[in-house]
């Protein structure tokens, strides 16, 4: 029983949540339109969470991703405002993510600071930098090129619904592409196998010839770029950028990875499990909003669900060990 709960408890819980909203919202929840909407809302979170998974397989984590998403959004928007071509501005924003990620990686792997401390410090710095770059203001309106904000509204036509075309949002496609890429890297390359080895036993990995500090550094760089990409996606979706708009992504992304870890057989972070975690959190948010549950109550409920899932998984694991 305990092992059944451990292996399938979270999956059953996730299915139960979907079923609950399906019954509670018979007309609006289980519709293509709603799910396409959810997928677009979640696309940024998916990108942050799956790239966060890259560092979490090593047992590390990165607290600076939310601040980095904010920073990259305002960097792109500020460059737009100064008349830079869109590709150049986007490349610059991604480069900021890469540099920030490398900075985290250097602090963690070469200097040897705990990830918690190192990324908490860079979180503060990235956040401050976002205010400096944007002068503390929201950049919007004519400063944001039409082509950039149109991207978030575009999509792959799936057919029509009455007069409206039904689109598979470009942001969703982008999130799927990033997920596929990270899945490929973590599950099917020797780079990914080595990251999992570091998480499995860092001393053994080192003696077996794994270049631990190089890999840790590069993994943090990966996560930094993911956060920057999410920031750009966010800016495109709301056609504006302000210095705090990505901040909320960090805690939810870490929560999603933990939620995903309750699904995997061996309790390790896995990309597809992370996506399941993101979807669970997103579905709850969407469903509770539609049920007009107060947003503060919503927060309490989401936190409680995370605790329940992780507790069941932890208790199940302990029961198996006894």
């Amino acid at each position: 029983m305990a092992s059944f709960l451990r292996h399938y408890g979270s999956l059953i819980g996730m299915a139960a949540i979907v079923l609950f909203f399906w019954i509670a919202l018979p007309d609006t929840f289980m519709t293509l339109r709603n799910w396409l909407n959810i997928s677009q809302q979640l696309s940024m979170l998916v990108v942050v969470a799956v790239t966060m998974t890259v560092v979490m397989v090593m047992g590390d984590f990165d607290l600076s991703v939310g601040a980095m998403a904010s920073l990259s959004g305002v960097v792109a928007a500020t460059l737009f405002a100064q008349g830079m071509p869109v590709p150049v501005a986007l490349a610059a924003a991604l480069a900021v993510g890469l540099l920030g990620g490398i900075a985290n990686g250097v602090l963690v792997s070469l200097v040897g600071i705990l990830p918690f401390v190192a990324t908490l410090a860079t979180l503060t710095m990235f956040s401050g930098a976002a205010f400096l770059v944007s002068d503390g203001k929201t950049i919007f309106g004519r400063d944001i090129p039409q082509g950039f904000s149109d991207f978030a509204r575009s999509g792959l036509p799936l057919g029509t619904w009455g007069d409206h075309p039904v689109l598979l949002p470009s942001l969703t496609l982008l999130a799927v592409a990033v997920t596929f890429l990270v899945w490929l890297v973590l599950e099917h390359t020797i780079y990914g196998r080595r990251l999992y080895a570091i998480g499995g036993n860092v001393a053994a990995a080192r003696l077996a010839g794994v270049k631990v500090s190089h890999l840790r550094l590069s993994a943090f760089a990966f996560t930094g770029v993911g956060a920057a990409l999410a920031g750009i996606m966010y800016a495109s979706r709301v056609a504006s950028a302000n210095p705090v708009q990505g901040d909320g992504l960090m805690l939810t992304a870490i929560a999603a990875v933990f939620l995903g870890m309750t699904v995997t057989r061996d309790g390790q972070p896995r990309v597809l499990a992370t996506v399941a975690g993101v979807v669970t959190l997103g579905v709850m948010d969407n469903g509770l909003t539609q049920l007009q549950v107060d947003s503060y109550v919503r927060q309490v409920l989401v936190g409680a669900i995370i605790l329940v899932a992780v507790s069941i998984s932890a208790l199940g694991r302990r029961a198996v060990r006894l």
Binding site: T189, I190, R193, A197, N201, A204, L207, A208, G209
Partner: protein, 496 residues
Amino acid sequence: MPELRLRGLVKTFGPARALDGAELSLRGGEVHALMGENGAGKSTMIRILAGLDNADAGEVTLNGAPLRLGSPAMAKAAGLRFLHQENHVVPALNVAENMHLARPYPQRFGLVNWTALRQAATDALGRLGASHIDARSEMGSLGAGDQMLVRIAATLLADEVAPWAYIMDEPTAALTGAEAAALFRAIGELKAAGAAILYVSHRMDEVMALADRITVLRDGAHVATRDRAETTRDEIIRDMTGRDMATLFPQRMASSGSPALAVRDLRAAGLGPVSFEMVEGEILGIAGLSGSGREVLLRALIGAVPRAGDLELRGVPLAADPAGAWAQGLAYVPPERRTEGVMPRRALAETVTLPHLSRLANFGFFRQGRATRLVRRLAEDVRLKATGPNQPVAELSGGNQQKVLFARALAGDPALLLLDEPTRGVDVGAKFDIYTLIRDLAAKGAMVIIVSSDLPELIGLSDRIAVLNAGRITETLPAAGLTEAALLTACYKRES
């Protein structure tokens, strides 16, 4: 005088019988040595005494009354105290606080009474003849020997149950000569105060100097309990090994290959300069006490610690990092398999393939099918008992975990195999498999360097044995005809 008796203990782990009728009687006022080869059942017996494992059968009595030992708390209530090889201390707290970790701090008005705390610690240290240790110094600043004295002194503090028996498992493994001498004085004080000491050690010299009685276990069974005054080293060694060496160690091949490894002036922290050469197919044993640099030597060869010197394998300079060394055909089986070797909670295939990932990939993409086939073949070669490549390593017995590491080492068809304590905690059956593997590999031309504290093993397997003393090779002896006593004497000999 209190007396603890263990009779007819049986304990099985899966198919392996760790204890098979073990016996022991421990009396107050004696030092009782518990001896046996690796895997003889000493650790299992201690784990049962400590309440960490339950025996499947057998009886434990204290002063004739049955004693239940189901948990560490029960062992403590029976007056037993355990000192393991590793020191369980909090380095950042001071000596007095470390001594009070498991018991209430003296208090006054609800606040810690620091003066009384220090005084109690100082008194206890004094009773142990360890007054040189200041109760106020930081625990982390003490050497391993002083830390051990502090932990023994802690048991002398007032407690609900006064301890009467001390179980010490290889207490001198990490100690210098002077530290060991201080420990022996402390043991003398405890014994004089009427305490019993169960002293588990491989070191014949220590046992012959300290023990009043000696109990020998072999393959989990009781062989003999002898008075030290009426026995000899040879008799004890016969008790421990029991069998004819020739049956345990496979036939020795004559190695007469061409020179293939040259090590000149190798230096690392606590090692060197060390120079030696090896020929193809040779097995070189490294003997030495702990702290002699034997562990560092292998780590320096695999490139896991900073090193200097000229090292050449088949004419090519050796890479100075583990990744390069594995790629060049070195393989390393570390001494601590759980913390440095395997990934306990992961599929055993992940541990086996880890150093060889580059060769198991196309353009960076891992070839799962090829890896699985390799792991299956190797598992068969090393006679691994596992349900399959995906079984987590932690579910395997110690011997099979060690075989996982051997499979990993063999995966690259190594030119030079580095083995540190290759059969520590391994049962006799698996031991024989491992010995056969080592011999087969050497017969195919690979060179093997073995570090082991198990002297019969070293003599039985090696072609030559280099003796390390204080980081240098003091002697290199041919293994054929070498006796354990002669080798031990060489280990103890100080450089002139």
